[in-house]
């Protein structure tokens, strides 16, 4: 028996969902990218990358305002016609799914090296993957509830762990401040923009609210909170290890959390606590991404129901996730996706919005 309930999202859920999607994607290795781009001032990179993202968020909400109740996928066919829309949306979905699967594989490799060296990767990857599919299968309401349930404790623990590392910072490692050119800053912003790729999910969740201005404000708040977390984390990582030290680690955030030594706490390593908490966020973020691609697929081909789309995507995702170890360097391909994904994830909605504005399509305010 089910009680009729219309699916909708409160504006505050945009804060929770978007923050989780961003933080749950890559929180542990990004200081490595930021120091490569801006050296000791690498902590400016996530901030710089967030500035153009604001334009993308505005564009996505503007698109929603022009086409009320339509997702980005549905808008595309109204703006550029059916055939081109199917082609570019399908490319986006494929790109998005492979990218998400590669990220998930990357995280599973991290789990293997940090927590489960002796357990076969396929075993716990399958368990995690089934959980993600289960949550995604039940739709955005269940995902938003899961994320809302975990958001507050996880965020508080993450921020506390990052702040606990501050006493170990060597301030000289963070100096000189602003030691970069404008070109470096732009390059840094470009290379760090991958952190915000999950914002593409706005493309699909904007029809779930009637309070667009409020939802946009909460989305901006989610971006601001994410930037704050990245900033604290980068300051901590660079401040502890310095530019040269950071290059030694694949997961610098985890390493700097390992440095923390809190007496009388029951655990020897705080790093694993951070990893555990972050994995919970990752679970929600992965389910959210899965929902996004499945919904996009079902909207692109209306004959495929959402639940059917979830099952269809299971095979390609599973294949990427369960690729045998040491045969293909998934990390290498993930870096390529991170570098060029900006065109797909940010170019796609921006171009659609620009075309709609130029052609004066949809409702004009």
């Amino acid at each position: 028996m089910t009680f009729p309930e219309k699916t909708s999202l409160r504006p505050s859920m945009y804060l929770v969902l978007i923050f989780t999607a961003i933080i749950g994607y890559d929180m542990l290795s990004n200081p490595l990218v930021s120091v490569k781009a801006l050296g000791n001032s690498g902590y400016f990179a996530p901030l710089a990358a967030a500035v153009p993202v604001i334009a993308i968020i505005i564009a996505m909400f503007a698109l929603q305002k022009r086409f009320p109740g339509k997702s980005g996928v549905q808008c595309a066919s109204l703006i550029i016609g059916n055939v081109p829309a199917v082609i570019i949306n399908l490319l986006l979905i494929i790109f998005w799914r492979v990218f998400a699967a590669l990220s998930a594989r990357n995280i599973m490799t991290l789990v293997s090296t940090q927590m489960l060296l002796k357990t076969p990767l396929w075993f716990f990857s399958t368990i995690g993957y089934l959980g993600i599919m289960y949550l995604a299968y039940h739709g955005i309401e269940s995902i938003s509830r899961f994320v809302a349930f975990t958001f507050i404790p996880a965020t508080i623990i993450i921020i506390i762990v990052f702040c606990a590392a501050f006493p170990y910072i060597d301030i000289r490692q963070l100096l000189p401040v602003l030691d970069f050119s404008v070109t470096d800053l732009i390059k840094g912003a470009f290379s760090m923009s991958y952190l915000y790729f999950p914002l593409i999910l706005l493309f699909l969740i904007t029809p779930y609210t009637k309070k667009l201005p409020s939802a946009r404000r909460f989305t901006m708040a989610a971006l601001a909170l994410s930037v704050l977390v990245f900033l604290i984390q980068n300051i901590g990582a660079i401040g502890i290890f310095g530019t040269s030290g950071l290059n030694r680690y694949t997961w610098p955030t985890l390493e700097f959390a390992h440095v923390i030594n809190i007496r009388y706490i029951a655990l020897e390593q705080i790093g694993v606590v951070l990893l555990t908490v972050w994995l919970v966020l990752t679970f929600g973020a992965a389910a959210f991404n899965y929902w996004g691609t499945a919904l996009a697929l079902s909207q692109l081909f209306p004959k495929i129901s959402y639940k059917m789309a979830v099952l269809i995507l299971a095979l390609p995702t599973g294949l990427v996730l369960l690729l045998p170890q040491n045969i293909i360097d998934t990390r290498f391909y993930l870096l390529i996706f991170e570098r060029w994904g900006v065109l797909a994830f940010f170019g796609h909605p921006l171009i659609l919005w620009l075309i709609a504005v130029i052609r004066r399509q949809g409702k004009e305010s």
Binding site: F3, M13, M115, L135, F283
Partner: protein, 512 residues
């Protein structure tokens, strides 16, 4: 109704003896059916059909009731004696002015409805020449005295629990809520048991959609018997496959009253001491009305302790295995060494060891419920201490495992809801397996699975994880902490009530 569905309605004839014979025939000549003829030569008791056959036109009226269900002393005083004194006047009084009489009665025109009333325990009266029958409410079955529910004890608060009588249970709630807006609607469920079920809610507060949904789900039940409120719980739940209770069962009248005042709906079932409260959230299952009987510091402390106890009950054994066997590098060196030392000589892997102790405790717990109370406590202590000591002595289990399992067992009783405690007991084993096979990651994975499953659940349109998910700040301040009573101005948004106002200014002029 199964009885009626077998045929059409039978009108009542003018001959009371004939009517009584029909009733006796319908009941299969039940030996507990008592028939008294007035003003016959005598009162016949026993073979009802034979009595009915012997009836003659001199009989002015016939009184029928089921032995044990009706109060025979009241029947004698209020029905038989007036009839014997002046039958015509008494019948006229009963028939014409039953609304004015102190006796609660109803008039029926068909035999089937009268038989239903008889089976409910009412007393039937057929008068000579009348085409109607009277049914009097004179319950005489034995009642259990009101007592404190053994599974929901409280230090502070009323010692009043529901009994197995519907009208008493309704009256208990009515005594709390003297508000004309308290709505009580009854229905019967069960084609054979015709069990009375009452729905109680505040008319100007409860969400009408939820009330309508409750009615719809109850009306949709087609079953032969309802023997306990648990039957209804299983039939009206939103998800029939989940481990979690999506309705709240309680025997405490103050808990039901508190839920009604919050704008929720209570379902009370006759012959069941448990009431069902809907909708419910997992958060509600850790709260007790007692929390509000103390000041908010103490109330908050109780809730936080319950929450910690509950989390220990689910995760402690799994976490112990994960940290001791898989991710031992996370433990402080001295603690890891102590655990390893305590396990020296134990021949089993830690998973088997924990499962062995957990299973033993489960058996103790289950057996303890059925042991006579006089020996249960002593036997429990003796069995626990002696067996535990002996098991450690011969190295079947380690001290560390015993500490973990006993702490888990005690913690599992910290919550006020028995049903959800059983759910967590089940899930504890998944945590144990997760911890054993995948260490800390397994605990996280199983935890995520559990929360993901809970996120898919709803109870009568309300998210099971509310107010955590979706985030409802107004309700979140009352969970897990206890909101000060003087700040509880509004009802929680969780229940989507019509009227959210609960309290005005509580400060007097002299007490600014």
């Amino acid at each position: 109704m199964g009885f009626r569905s077998r045929g059409g309605m039978t009108p009542i004839g003018p001959d009371p003896v004939g009517n009584a014979a029909n009733v006796a025939k319908a009941l299969g000549r039940a030996t507990d059916l008592v028939i008294r003829k007035i003003p016959g030569d005598d009162c016949v008791r026993g073979d009802a059909a034979a009595d009915a056959r012997d009836g003659s036109s001199s009989v002015r009226a016939v009184v029928l009731f089921l032995e044990g269900l009706a109060d025979e002393e009241a029947i004698r005083r209020h029905i038989i004696t007036p009839l014997l004194a002046d039958a015509a006047a008494a019948i006229a009084h009963f028939s014409a002015a039953n609304e004015l009489s102190a006796l609660k009665s109803s008039t029926h025109e068909t035999l089937e409805t009268l038989i239903d009333a008889l089976l409910e325990g009412q007393v039937l009266l057929f008068a000579d020449g009348c085409h109607t029958g009277l049914a009097f409410v004179m319950p005489g079955w034995s009642l259990r005295p009101i007592s404190e529910p053994p599974s929901e004890k409280a230090i502070r608060g009323p010692r009043e629990g529901f009994t197995e009588t519907l009208r008493e249970n309704i009256a208990m709630v009515r005594r709390w809520v003297r508000d004309p807006e308290l709505r009580v609607t009854k229905m019967q469920i069960g084609t054979r048991t015709h069990t009375d079920v009452a729905i109680m809610y505040l008319g100007d507060v409860a969400n009408p959609d939820i009330v309508a949904e409750v009615r719809k789900r109850l009306a949709a039940i087609k079953i032969d018997a309802i023997l306990e409120a648990g039957y209804l719980e299983q039939l009206i739940t939103d998800s029939r496959t989940t481990l979690f209770p999506l309705t709240q069962a309680t025997e405490r009248s103050d808990k039901v009253t508190s839920a009604i005042l919050e704008g929720r709906v209570a379902i009370i079932v006759d012959k069941s001491a448990s009431a069902i409260i809907v909708p419910t959230t997992v958060n509600e299952l850790y709260q007790s009305p007692e929390d509000y009987y103390y000041d908010f510091w103490l109330g908050t402390l109780l809730r936080v302790i319950r929450l910690i106890g509950n989390n220990l009950a689910i995760a402690l054994p799994g976490l112990y295995i994960a940290l001791a066997a898989v991710n031992s590098e996370l433990l402080p060196t001295q603690l890891a060494l102590n655990i390893a030392a305590s396990r020296l000589g134990v021949p089993f892997p830690i998973l088997l060891e924990v499962l062995l102790v957990e299973l033993t405790i489960e058996i103790f717990r289950e057996a303890g419920l059925r042991l006579p109370s006089t020996v249960a406590q002593t036997l429990g202590v003796v069995a626990g201490v002696v067996l535990g000591f002996a098991a450690v002595q011969i190295s079947i289990v380690s001290n560390a495992t015993l500490i973990v399992s006993v702490t888990t067992a005690v913690a599992s009783f910290s919550g006020p809801n028995f049903q959800v405690g059983i759910s967590w007991r089940w899930l504890k084993y998944f945590m144990i397996l997760g911890g054993a096979f995948m260490g800390l990651f397994g605990i996280v994975a199983v935890g995520c699975f559990i929360v993901a499953h809970m996120a898919t659940l709803q109870s009568f349109g309300v998210s099971y994880l509310a107010p955590w998910a979706p985030l409802q700040p107004d309700a979140l301040v009352d969970a897990p902490l206890r909101q000060p009573l003087w700040l509880k101005f509004r009802r929680h948004s969780t229940w989507r009530t019509k009227n959210r106002r609960r309290m005005g200014d509580t400060r007097g002029e002299d007490n600014p």
